[in-house]
Symmetry: C2
Amino acid sequence: MNKFSYIGKSVKRKDALLKVEGLSKYADDYVFEDMLYAAAVRSPKPRIKILNISDAKAKKISGYVTLVTHKDIGGVKQWPIVINDYPFLCADETKFEGETIALVVAKTLRAARKAAKLVEIKYKELPFLTDPLKSLEKKSLKIYGSDNIFSKFIIKKGNAKDAMKKADIAVKDEFSTNYQVHGYLETQCAIAVPEPGGLMTVHSSTQCPFYVHDAVAAVLGIGYNKVKIVQAVTGGGFGGKEDVPALVASHAAVCAVKTNRPVKLVYDRKEDFMSMSKRHPSWSSVSYGAKKDGKITSCIIKYVLDGGAYSTLSPIVLWRGAVHAAGPYKIDNILIEAYAVATNKAPSGAFRGFGQPQISFAQESLIDDLSEKLSIDPIDLRLKNIIGPGAKTATGQKIEASCGLKEALLAVRKNSDWNKKIKAKKFSGEKARGIGISAVYYGVGLGAKGKFLDRAGAYVNIFRDASVGINVGNTEMGQGALTVLSQIAAETLNAPYENIRVQEVDTSKVSDSGPTVASRTTLMSGNAIIEAAKPLRNRIFTMAKSMLLKKGAESSAIMNAYQGVFSMGGKKVSFKEVIAECWARRLKMGEQGWHIAPNTTFNDKDGQGDIYSVYSYNANIAEIEIDKETGVIKPIKMSCAYDVGKIVNPVLAEGQAEGGILQGMSWALYENLVYKNGKMLNPNFTDYVLANTNDKPEYDIIFIEKLYERGPYKAKGMGEVPLIGMAGAIANAVKNACGIRVKKIPILPEDVWLGLKNKRKAK
Amino acid sequence: MNKFSYIGKSVKRKDALLKVEGLSKYADDYVFEDMLYAAAVRSPKPRIKILNISDAKAKKISGYVTLVTHKDIGGVKQWPIVINDYPFLCADETKFEGETIALVVAKTLRAARKAAKLVEIKYKELPFLTDPLKSLEKKSLKIYGSDNIFSKFIIKKGNAKDAMKKADIAVKDEFSTNYQVHGYLETQCAIAVPEPGGLMTVHSSTQCPFYVHDAVAAVLGIGYNKVKIVQAVTGGGFGGKEDVPALVASHAAVCAVKTNRPVKLVYDRKEDFMSMSKRHPSWSSVSYGAKKDGKITSCIIKYVLDGGAYSTLSPIVLWRGAVHAAGPYKIDNILIEAYAVATNKAPSGAFRGFGQPQISFAQESLIDDLSEKLSIDPIDLRLKNIIGPGAKTATGQKIEASCGLKEALLAVRKNSDWNKKIKAKKFSGEKARGIGISAVYYGVGLGAKGKFLDRAGAYVNIFRDASVGINVGNTEMGQGALTVLSQIAAETLNAPYENIRVQEVDTSKVSDSGPTVASRTTLMSGNAIIEAAKPLRNRIFTMAKSMLLKKGAESSAIMNAYQGVFSMGGKKVSFKEVIAECWARRLKMGEQGWHIAPNTTFNDKDGQGDIYSVYSYNANIAEIEIDKETGVIKPIKMSCAYDVGKIVNPVLAEGQAEGGILQGMSWALYENLVYKNGKMLNPNFTDYVLANTNDKPEYDIIFIEKLYERGPYKAKGMGEVPLIGMAGAIANAVKNACGIRVKKIPILPEDVWLGLKNKRKAK
């Protein structure tokens, strides 16, 4: 029988009840005996030379314990991440407003924060940069290396310039996007608990416990086997709990070592805004050339990311953006130049989509402009050019069988009644409706630039009572990992779903499994669980069979395993009974699994290679309504089709889709962080507006399950895909609604209003 | 090269510094935020019917929180151990003075203890039993089942009664032994910490975290995967932290669930004395028959253990005692009957030697009496009869090649100058010197009666910085497990010893590895580590070779691996470099190992079978000095030879020997717990005297390393052996010194004094 027990079913979410009841323990809920509190002393200006630090006034605060500076760091001084330019604590120069200079430790949080404000920094202001395009200018001030460039990539295929000249039709434009703040539930928080013998345990709000592990071992200068990171329940990450928690935990750990007491470091929302990573602002110049029949022949892109003061994950974010920049199209001539550059603002970093949404917005906007010039329906133009099985991507990678982009485009076209709506008259009274499309492909996992990290472990431990403990290195952060991984374990072992518990991630239990990013959790931890479960499954199934035979089943009968029951020729035996027998015979009931992503390649010279082991695909149709008087854009309906391979849990997958759509929409329409002269003007959720549930459109979510043979139960990755194409689809819908091509994100009411006004004038 | 890097070397003890500095965290050192304290309300009499429990007065104590009784137990009511007759908390009847009836929970330890004393128990006294021989009488009061017998074993080979009649010489006598208290550093303690979602973590002072796991899951009625037991640093166990911590932890856990707060339950020394397990008092009748030439032909033994109020581990303690009862001799005709019986005293339980020391004392005393009757030197008589490779034990098991008993006897005879001293004139002035021998064999591990538990897991985890985390299920309790297991891991991986850290035992990290008892840790966890390390070793060694070849080593050269360095043909590469390369290639660097003891058999009908997979051997010569006026016995020198296979760490092995000798001596000469009418009269270390370092004799410790092919680096088990034969050797030395055969343990000065007086009278 090929019927799944749990895969493909919307089983109950493992952590639902605790979250609904408010019982989940987030990092700040942890309190330890004798715990102290730390608060950061931050750079008051975008760039200063530190002349002196004094805690003379701070000391007078009751409960004040100590000041921690870079001098208290026992290990390495620079945070090991990609380039290692970020000091754990500034020694003499700061590079952005809000950068941590020192930490005050006190007996209460209130005292720590109060005292931190009283620490006096004597400094000299230094000149600074805020505009990434200025940073790139040859004559500009240099704040990083000799050229302010953190990282640079070139993707080169055929001869794009030549082909562009020869194209029948060419389009070119420039686009820009602003920051996006992650808006996770709880601010950054870590509690470092020193243990005798120089051990350190850290409870961290994090997506990436192993990054925290690396950083804490480094900053303390102790062995990895003396550090243990335990993930606290994490209320959303979106990339914001990717690299930064390592810095926060390192600060807490240095404080804990200095005081030999547990130390909690928790940020308030303002300092979280000011110092934490965000989606990179971007600037891009994009051009496409095509033949009259719509065949795209050339693509030239220059893509610049504003990396902020330190490189952090910019090289990797840039890489993902660059390799996907041309869009999901077969194009023979491609030239992509991509730069991540330094400015004196908070370091940009990981954010759901990881460099793709910015360039997807630009590129999909321009594809629509191309279709207009060609007088070809935007979907038809895409269908003509999209990659499919056997086609080659911008990096020359041949697409595998698991590719449902065409089906996705056809599905959303049909579901949204596109053919009728695209041509409909737009304005009726004050409101105009518009419809827009975007197509997305997404390399699942870390790909060639992260391949050394693209492995995952799992420890599957079947207890004597047949309950099962699963330990993995990837984290639950709201996306449903606990549930999906439990389904995979239950299915593989034929254990009842309720017997499975995925235990909290603890870096001492499984090998470094890389980060929980890049939509890799189901794929990597899922496969690692299957690797661990395989030998267990063999033992269990063999034992079940022998027990059924003993019970009188015919040996020629076929054994069926379904939802924790084994049956054969009318006889039955439960998972619990089988496990009891396995234990009685002392069979090995705990196994470590290890999965490594298939090998990938990337040639730094021309950017060619088989860069990801598999891709997910997605098509989005956004329907919006514009208020002519105010310019306000109201999303009406999002029809989105996803090929992310097998859907393990439909309700959770829909949740991922809905969340991604809303977050993409929020970035496209609402979120607008304002920096002025290196100072952040709206570091709070009053002045920085996020989409909320009231803004949610109608969702029409479609899954195209193109099975992926190497995925766990043929699944690929889901997490980031839904966000990537939203801005492009919305921008195209705005254009469709009112004829205005807005080339910046967010698309604010005033942009539309102004556009309409200018248009009226032009008439 | 066959040179070991670490095996056989006295490398520095891993936990030495922390213990010397006083930084080790014992269970009572743990304090959790919002933690409450529990204190037991105990049975005031040996046996009562509970009529009513009232906390009316207790409630008035400031800080009082609640009273916890059997009604608060959500899971099963009986502690699952062997027979399951022990209620977690009494419902209506208590069976010994000090039994826990209920628990008071309060905000401070002082308040909890004060309030516990104010809880009023209305009761009716019930008749009770204190003498195990009376319990066995047919007409006696029944307090357990229909015959007061917890457990009974028969070992029967040949026709012992017949052979006894036909013997040229026969000896017969009765012996008795008293309790022994474990005298571990810290009293019983557990802290139960409830976690959201019905999870329970317990920090426990224990030898056996998995027993605690079983009990806590049972008493709470929750899945094993919701319970996590973490061992706190444990200052000695000796069996006293074997079963009982499970009861203590279960009480704490029930209190924690009821209050939804962390709860600490820590005993004061008096209640620890009154309620905790101790070495079983015993009574035995032993007879040996022999031919004139000294060949022993028959052995008949009746062996009775006083199990106390509940069975706990008595069946297993009795079994080990029974199967070893005839001593390490080839005897064709054997009849052993063994009983563990109920009395209304604190339950007896596990204690280093586990039922063997009591009967070894009796049996080795009588072997000496036999040698006297035969006029054969006691060592010669033993040499004539001892088992050796190929010989069969009392249970018909053929002895394996790894048997150094003969060598042990010869070694101690030589080292102690036995031949001269045994015949020396005894009294000179007020002091008489005596010398005595004993021979011991010891089945390593749990044997046939515990075989389902005789398996162990290990998780070996090599981090990216080449530090190594080892996780096992057996515990450090002072014996040196952390060090010996680190040596085994370092040797197998060719990792530097200082790179290894054995992490705290946590039941969620490795599969149920059975108890840390029966001298099985080196053997079982050692083998499990090797199992886990084997595939890692293969990867590491293969990688090292390929790196050395790359460096220019000749492929025909032999690679040498020593103390963390790989070398070949003059080229070198370090463990750290090799591990970095393994990680770069994403090799699996974490493995779970699983070791099961070889199969064993035991026939319940005649007690025959291959009951242990291997035996350790030991010979002891005690030299003592008696003060004629006071009867005080002063141990002068102990010459002890051990065959425990390969010695992994000589200094630690000597430590185990010295500790065992002293503890055996202490039981033989000093420790005297007094019960009167079911009431313990001296539950404290003022009135109950233990040997201390001032009492220590000269140690002469010899290791006979008969290698055991299936042991880790050919080691067997060491922990319990040194204690077992001490009482027999000392009793024989007393006899040799002054001619008095003392047939009870402890041998008190007044016993000797009285013997000498009677002897003088008889003259």
